[in-house]
Symmetry: C2
Subunit: 358 residues, 2 copies
DNA sequence: TTGAAAGCGCTAACAC
DNA sequence: GTGTTAGCGCTTTCAA
């Protein structure tokens, strides 16, 4: 089978310690010895056995990422970013799907399979604030999302309230006054839906516009079908609105479809804004104005934060790290003239409107 | 730190072998002994150290999945299916992204990081037939996709030619005669684009319709923008067509957008069919008729085949395993009456039209 | 600058 | 039925 340190040492005529030193770039090795060892390594095609190294060192060089489902575009793109960031740091990513099931999420936290990794980036969708204690695990962990706050671990997330408020203000600045919402969750206090709805309400309040629950569509899930169903229900009820704020892009795309079927022109009759900055929002018809909540920054920061904890470089209190956001103005809700000055660097064809320091 | 077998053995007053026996469900243990050990395990919160077990047993309980990019919907959905299938089998999945770069793909095959896994499910997009030899690795591997055939490993893939031919025949049966293609690759012989184009040509030939390269759009990538660009170019050239076959769903969705911008009604003036059976094809406007190439079966089969090789249950020649496909008829190209009898079980709202035994 | 040897936590012969 | 023991391949004191 595969060659071991002993094989290399024997061939090079040195001890395994010397070979180990060469592999680990220990500085004080005589160049001739080093050359001889490297020659032997090449000759045998030796690669270190990472399992053995892990057992000895206590580090695996792998991290785990737990998301609800890679079939959900947001989490697929998040995972892509996390894996890319991890690779740049030389670690590998083990991906788990929890199906947004709180029981499976809790179970995952205690799973022995995590022993194969040095730490976990955890994006729960089923667990809630009442499960905060379950996050007190004995391995490094970084929490994502907005299901649980003030937990015992580092937490990297987005500015939901501010970003949703900015999206709403964007519509208000466009002259819209009856802004429907798609994707609210009844009774939720924290969680993406509640926080984004709060931002929406803050913007309305600041503009002196009363909140009207009649134009708020409630859904349980955030799939495209839910956005479509919710919009159908709004139309069926005959309520009036001149804009729609989809609490995520998928909902907004579903709602947009139904609006078009119903013959409402976008953005003339109804402007539509989503949330998530999904790649596909750029290619819908019409292209979807959306809030990029800083997904890529979140991924990179989650990885670097986790690796710092693993390395023991940071040992203080759990930190809350918040990403910048920006509004990507597209066809479904063009940038109002009033916000023209707020332009900033953005993807070609996009117009960045707002951003906060993290 | 974490408790070990020794700790448990000491607490239970037995040897570590007995503890090991209990953990591994060795049958011949006295019930009282077993109970005592289990009590000690619970008391200490013992979980086995999988790294140590791996070193000893030579198995890690993890497999690797290498795909181009999780940002591509097809691969995200494939990964979701693979992870689900692996979890059902009790193994965990380490996901690598190669960016479809042939150099990175070749490098990955020799990466020591794979030592952390028992085998690899590899979906190359950059490597080609000329790299077949590079697939001769010394660990179990299952190949996906259609970049390389007759390689030294098991290969699980779809019936590209037959499925594309069926999609084209579906359009022909609808009375379409000028079927444009979006996403062809110039000079390619194998690979998804070439095989699907071949199926298209076979269908035309069987129907006695001459192939016309003027209505075949060539692209390098298969993103939505490429489908849009390709369609724009077709429209600009003023060529006539009454249907479009997108060589994947993403291309078809991009093309559909441009058709709508140009005022061509779908499916009346132009029928559109995609390929991949992506979830999002069901929610576009109009919903997209597409070929489900059996992605879920491919994922499950890849996992089970790999695990069989790992277990050494199978040792024969490399196998080629082909998935069934079916056409999901939707709004962009309704099922022609001539194919009405071919209906079969399918997702609600879908109409399955064709399928082959694997 | 290099070597010898212990041991990470577990499994699996082999003994009793 | 249960205990002893020898490693899996590596890192890491400690000596030389």
């Amino acid at each position: 089978m595969s060659a071991t340190l002993h094989d290399v040492a024997r061939l090079a005529g040195v001890s395994i310690k010397t070979v180990s030193n060469v592999i680990n770039d220990y500085p004080h090795i005589r160049p001739t010895t080093k050359a001889r060892v490297e020659q032997a390594i090449a000759e045998l095609g030796y690669t270190p056995n990472l399992t053995a190294r892990s057992l000895r060192s206590g580090r695996t060089g792998a991290i785990a990422l737990a998301v609800p489902d890679l079939g959900l575009a947001y989490f697929a793109e998040l995972a892509a970013s996390v894996i890319a960031a991890a690779e740049a740091a030389g670690v590998v990513v083990l991906v788990e799907q929890t199906g947004a099931d709180p029981a499976r999420e809790r179970e995952l936290l205690r799973s022995p399979r995590l022993k194969l990794t040095d730490g976990l980036i955890f994006s729960p969708l089923g667990m809630g604030q009442e499960d905060a204690d379950a996050l007190a695990v004995d391995y490094p962990m970084v929490l994502l999302g907005e299901r649980i706050f003030d937990g015992p671990t580092d937490h990297v997330t987005m500015r939901n309230v501010e970003a949703a408020r900015a999206a709403t203000e964007f519509l208000l600045a466009s002259g819209r006054r009856r802004i429907a919402v798609v994707g609210a969750h009844a009774g939720e206090v924290i969680g993406s839906a509640a926080l984004r709805l709060q931002g929406y309400r803050e913007a309305l309040a600041a503009a002196g516009i009363p909140y009207d629950d009649d134009i708020v569509g409630y859904t349980t899930l955030w799939h495209r079908a839910n956005g479509a169903d919710s919009m159908r229900e709004l139309l069926a009820r005959g309520v009036e609105f001149d804009a729609v704020f989809g609490l995520n892009d998928t909902l907004a795309l579903g709602a947009m479809r139904v609006l078009q079927e119903a013959g409402r022109s976008i953005p003339d009759e109804v402007a539509v804004v989503g949330f998530d900055g999904l790649d596909e929002a750029e290619y819908s018809i019409p292209s979807l104005t959306t809030v990029d909540p800083g997904r890529d920054w979140i991924a990179r920061t989650a990885v670097s934060t986790l690796l710092e904890r693993i390395a023991g470089k940071v040992t203080g209190e759990p930190r809350l790290l918040l990403a910048d956001f920006r509004i990507l103005a597209r066809e479904s809700a063009p940038r109002p003239a009033a916000l023209a000055g707020a332009d900033a660097a953005a993807a070609p064809g996009d117009t960045a409107v707002a951003g906060l320091r993290s």
